[in-house]
Symmetry: C4
Subunit: 278 residues, 4 copies
């Protein structure tokens, strides 16, 4: 029984470190985790630069093993300490945490056989997705993620709208410019040009050279710029509106029912109706 109690205590302590970022140990753990993630991403990136990889291959490989083992320990610790392990395992961060560990183990087994290099490489690059572990620091509750979720439908309509526009404009430009030596060699490439232009990226790898092509693309740019202000405005308006419905809560607790998260301007508890202390 004492054994169980110690165990429970130990698990409770670990849970505090892993999940509560505002306890002293939790803060230290989070800073360590943050640095490890960043280091891990930097190592994957350096590995992709041939000159660096050929010189420091052994060091990068060793560092990768250390990081993989650290992330594995973190994953196991999280599964053990959380109250509902299955819910965590199949959650967004659960999947990301698992994906952060397996590529290196799998590459170990795959090297033995005669597997294609491309698959192996894709697997190695999967480690970059560890950067999503940083998403913990953006926080689920921030305006950004909520705004993105709320505007999902509007963004889809926006993308569909721009895409339809680009297909039509790209085809028109293909008809005009395809005789010239200007990169408009097929409709898909012309649509690619239209997307590059309407989003104002403008690489310049494909650009109209004929007078008519430049005239029409001038018109496309002007119109596109003005038209795109509308959906951008819609998304902005959505965010502004969402901000308004956003009720500011304080950390005060009701003296009668201990309920928290009262509105900043609340005078009575929203839960029990008693007067809040001022």
């Amino acid at each position: 029984m004492t054994q169980e109690k110690t165990n429970s205590k130990w698990r409770h302590k670990l849970h505090e470190i892993l999940y509560e970022a505002d306890t002293p140990y939790g803060r230290v753990f989070n800073i360590g985790l943050f640095i490890t993630i960043i280091a891990s991403i930097i190592f994957v990136m350096l590995e992709s630069i041939q000159s660096i990889d050929s010189q420091y291959h052994d060091f990068l490989n060793a560092a990768e093993w250390v990081i993989t083992i650290l992330f594995s320990l973190e994953y196991i610790a999280r599964v053990i300490t959380v109250k509902k392990p299955l819910k965590y395992i199949f959650s967004f961060f659960g999947v990301i945490d698992l994906l952060s560990t397996i590529p290196k183990y799998l590459s170990f087994f795959l090297v033995g056989g005669a597997h294609s290099l491309v698959a192996l490489r894709a697997l190695r690059l999967l480690r970059v997705f560890r950067i999503l572990k940083l998403a913990r620091y953006i926080g689920e509750s921030t305006n950004l993620t909520r705004a993105l979720k709320a505007s999902r439908a509007k963004i889809s309509v926006f993308i569909l709208f721009v895409f339809i526009l680009c297909v039509i404009l790209g085809t028109i430009m293909y008809l005009i410019e395809s005789g010239q030596d200007s990169g408009f060699t097929s409709i898909p490439r012309s649509v690619y040009w239209a997307i590059v232009t309407l989003t104002t990226v403008g690489y310049g790898d494909i650009a109209p050279v004929s007078a008519l092509g430049q005239l029409i693309s001038s018109f496309i740019m002007l119109m596109g710029y003005a038209i795109l202000a509308v959906p951008t405005g819609i998304v902005s308006a959505e965010v502004v509106r969402m901000n308004k419905h956003n009720v500011h809560t304080n950390t005060q607790a009701c003296p009668y029912c201990m309920e928290e998260k009262h509105r900043d301007d609340a005078e009575y508890c929203y839960s029990c109706g008693n007067k809040l202390n001022e």
Copy 2:
């Protein structure tokens, strides 16, 4: 008489499938239509890529015939089932639906004669406008189309304003850079450059090379960026204002006059004045 009744029933059923996207059959039809449109666009695009067209010409031709016949059947069905066929035929979607079918038929007749290839090609590319059939899925009633319609006047003024600015700036740059080997060979090309720059597309096919040209174009970019924030803000503000006047309606029907589309906060029917049930 029973004949007529069956006929009417059959037409009603077809109408439900074609026009009511929230019935089970309607949903299946819509998914099918969506896939056919996308496939059709992809085929037109692939046909424009020489290497693919030379290899799969027969397959693409056959696929095009299948799609043309499917769209023809859809068009006929829509004309038969709709209550006011003429109104549909001359509506935006009626014209688009017709245009989606005729290019292939016309190309059949034109091939017989000795027609110019350019006309034939333009005709073939007309099939790309089928993508406008996708506009059905954006919906007439969305904020996007309404906002675009409402800001039409403002967008026109905006385009005129930027165009005037670009003509003047382009001419100034032509005066400065025309001696250099930098692409500013005529005023129209310089105006094209000004439009590419002010809309922040920036291909780089034409770029100032002289010190004075770079100085002035720096100034143009800074000023242009700041100035363009104003019309963009105006369009955004228009959208925000429009959103406010946007009354949310519900699907409730008045129990007295069966009128629908009441405001969400309505207590009395806007049509007959009787109390709505809660």
Copy 3:
């Protein structure tokens, strides 16, 4: 005396045509003026294209004389009919209207002497400023011009702010990239690059090639993009606020004092206090 009366009547008629766009004659005149301006601009542009100028020089020269005479007549008519000629002559449109006529006359005299070609060319290009005559159709009273005037101070601060940022960022990039063969040959050019980058134009004529240069310019782009959202937001907010204070006026005239421009929701005349007719 009758002579004087006829004269006055004739002047009144002319004034109506020139200044009142909503009378039948005024409308016809405005459409004609609009077309003449556009034609004039197109001719100046075509003249700058060498191949076209060498072929159609005589036609373009003749057309230019016709347009110059038309604009001269318009200018004289405006000066005669307006009540305060001096006020018109020194107003924005008065100056523009005069500038639209003189270049051709001056070029006539200058050709006689041995003047530099550059001055002559600059003079010829001055004709492009005729496009400012189009500004009449944007209208003094539109939101756009008022918003631009109201945000003038904010736009100046914005430009100063971005300029300071660009000078510092350009110098840092010059320090890093100047050894490389990447176009960062002097600080002014590096500042030019910074402006091209921060305004998201991005020609690509100057682009970092060293790893450190690309790292720092990545950071500049990210930070710049996020930071520039703030002043853009300020200008937008200014426009939104201005729109709110924007009182909609109607064309109704008070039946007692004939005062115009009453608020749309006004019940009493703001000038004499009598009830307006409904």
Copy 4:
């Protein structure tokens, strides 16, 4: 004692000139300072252009000494006249003012020894930071600086968000395009491309060439453009909200307690409660 009084008077006068821009002498001083700063920046820039530096080296050197001495005098005067010298010295402008003088003095001593040219060059370029002295004219109290400070947290989250997105998108593009001859030679370079693309700068020095690469980057541009509207909207919304809470104050002083900065609509002094004179 009279000595002390004169001294105090003289210091008071100097303080007025240096710190109070709305007194006549203060205005003259500020205009002079403004011109000196701009001249100083222009000289540093010209020095970086080899052809100009080799021709006018002696003039630029002399001008630099004059400016350095002027800025030194200004610094000393500011330290003497200000009430709390230490507070000024360690303030933002105190540090900038000091940094504006030392590079030239240091270069004088460093030239004597055998110091590396790079350090010397970096030091010389430090003089560009004098442009921050212009920040005085933007003013601490403007909306811009306050808005930037208020949105600092949001801008950080925004940068982190876009960075995570760019790392993932860059890695995906590296996997697809690395075989091609298109500049995607390593993950860091691909991430650099993703940042250049998502911020819509689009140099074109790295651009996808394979069909799949162009397809995916089209998708990245469309999605990126739509997604980035959300954080931009959030920052805008923040600015709009801040503007609302912005209380306009006037320059009126309370006749009872002399307190200033009352709200524009204040009727009673916020400090002593007495009625303000109208």
